[in-house]
Amino acid sequence: MSERGLRIQQLRAAAGGTQILKGIDLTVEAGRVHALMGPNGSGKSTLAFSITGHPGFKVESGSVTLDGADVLAMAPDKRAKAGLFLSFQYPAAIPGVKVANFLFAARQALHPGDLPPAKFRALLLEKMDLLDMDPSFMGRYLNDGFSGGEKKRLEMLQLAMLAPKYAILDETDSGLDVDALRAVGESVNAMRASESGKDTGFLIITHYPRILQYVKPDVVHIMIDGRIVKEGDAELAQRIEREGYDKIREETAQIA
């Protein structure tokens, strides 16, 4: 079992010809919550997109494995089938594609034939209720005309419906009011308490420690300028809250 986990090793990646990630080592362990914190522009979203295979990001070297499987060799949909999930900071709006149809297609792709339509619908309604989402959401076009909060709730709904092995939440807390933030936190906690989600490993990418009041991290990683410069427990997030990133940047500048 030594290979268990989402293991990122010496990952270097570029966007638009500029190297953003300068050798990332980070392992997300099954059933644990990892927080990835860092100031704007430090490369957090680049890491999320590089792991999930966005065509706008080029991995230059390093490796990413998911329970031993080589993630970087897979097409993006295969990465999802291997158990990877990304909650987008800016989810795409797709007019004409209804939420329920999209979710059913995604669930079918990841867990073929495991839920007949009626059971799928029941599960969907249950998860929507948990997220304070009105059933009318099912008939709306995917993210089309959604408010920021509605988009993030829909990301959490997908997380709940797709039950991945490893979930990356990219700034899911940004732009959310307190109610939406609490709903997101409760959704993650409910998933972790469930049979299908108890082994899910989380990488929660955030700029502010706010969301970590709702979801307690087991490990906190600090990323600055494309490198992980510090790791610690939940106390490290508290420190960021008090001191900001500058102090850590100064402390770690010599090492870099």
Binding site: P76, D77, P91, I94, A106
Partner: protein, 368 residues
């Protein structure tokens, strides 16, 4: 055959764009004079039974309903001075007449099917909806053999009438289709066109609404999707000649293979047509490097107290949308298909319920 009328029609210019870098067909060089014309026939007509409702072929209309028929027949399309409408009028060999009496609401659609075979077809559908009446027409244009079909659909809607006219042109691939669809709504009347140009090698069409009375609510919905070597040329025009009325135009198009299309969306607001609200939205999706769509919104606004909006987009499938779907486990090809079908969905949903599944299937077949 009134040959003087035909001579005049043959001499008219189409008024369409000349061939250019992408579009290769000269519409003014098409030879209509040597076409073999099919013998006269009636279309297949299915209509619910309602007191006073008339739905019949042209011969029966002239014979049994001469007064109302003669007053309306050609009264709208005859004013357009259009080459293809004139040709259709001169060579008319099939058609249908629908009349809805005052205040009669007809829920079930009236279905008219033209089937081209044994020569060129020149259909003329006339729909007269009397005061406060309501109906839905579904017209299907099909073919057993590849023919030229040059037709007219004409709506005369009286005060406070509501009419939806949905047409699906799905001729065999080697056919040519020329359609003129025009409506004249009365005061407070509501007119909705839904036009799907699916088949034929060449599809040339125009959709017109002449707003000559206040309170009109006009909707023009259409889509086309040339693939292979198909060519589509569509022009829509809403003429707001009086104010205090509104119109919405929504056109969705895609092209794949070497498919070529041109769309010109006109909104004309006359100088005294104050209080007009008009919107035009057209989106075009290019699914192959050799496909081409020219999409031109043209707003001509003469009045100052109006609301006019237009938005046009053209482009390939958005990689970010594809990636979003892929990241949920959906394969790239399936994702592209879902996004492209979804692109048409807002306009498909404006067609009568009974047509939608067939239209979705037709679109899906084009993407495959």
């Amino acid at each position: 055959m009134p040959s003087a009328t035909l001579e005049k029609a043959l001499e008219l210019r189409s008024g369409r764009e000349r061939p250019g870098q992408f579009w290769k067909i000269d519409l003014d060089a098409i030879d209509f004079s040597s076409l073999q014309v099919a013998p006269p026939s009636d279309p297949q007509i299915v209509a619910p039974s309602k007191p006073g409702l008339i739905a019949c072929g042209l011969e029966a209309a002239k014979r049994d309903h001469a007064e109302v028929f003669n007053r309306a027949f050609g009264s709208v399309t005859g004013t357009l001075n259009d080459k293809f409408a004139s040709l259709s009028a001169a060579l008319c060999n099939t058609g249908a007449f629908v009349y809805i009496p005052p205040d009669q609401s007809v829920d079930d659609p009236i279905e008219i099917t033209y089937t081209a075979k044994n020569g060129a077809l020149f259909p003329h559908t006339l729909v007269v909806v009397d005061r406060g009446a309501r109906c839905t027409i579904i017209e299907r244009i099909e073919g057993e053999s590849a023919e030229a079909v040059c037709g007219i659909a004409e709506i005369v809607a009286a005060e406070s009438a509501t009419v939806t006219y949905a047409a699906e042109q799905n001729l065999p691939l080697e056919s040519q289709a020329f359609f003129t669809r025009a409506a004249s709504p009365g005061k407070d009347a509501s007119v909705t066109w839904c036009v799907a140009e699916v088949g034929a090698a060449l599809s040339v069409s125009r959709i017109d609404v002449l707003v000559d009375h206040p309170g009109v609510d006009a909707h023009l919905n259409g889509f086309f999707f040339p693939r292979g070597d198909q060519h589509v040329d569509m022009v829509s025009t809403v003429r707001h000649n009086v104010g205090e009325s509104q119109s919405q135009t929504l056109i969705k198009s895609a092209a794949t293979g070497r498919g070529q299309a041109r769309y010109l969306g006109n909104i004309r607001i006359a100088p005294h047509a104050q209080g007009t609200e008009a919107s035009l939205r057209d989106d075009a999706l290019l699914l192959s490097p050799r496909a081409h769509i020219d999409s031109v919104p043209a707003l001509e606004i003469g009045a100052n107290d109006v609301k006019a909006f237009h938005g046009a987009t053209i482009g390939a499938l958005d990689e970010n949308l594809i990636f979003y779907m892929e990241s949920r486990g959906i394969e790239r090809e399936a994702a592209e298909k879902m996004i492209a079908l979804g692109f048409f969905e807002p306009v498909v949903e404006r067609f009568p319920t009974g047509m939608r599944e067939r239209l979705r299937a037709a679109l899906e077949a084009k993407i495959a």
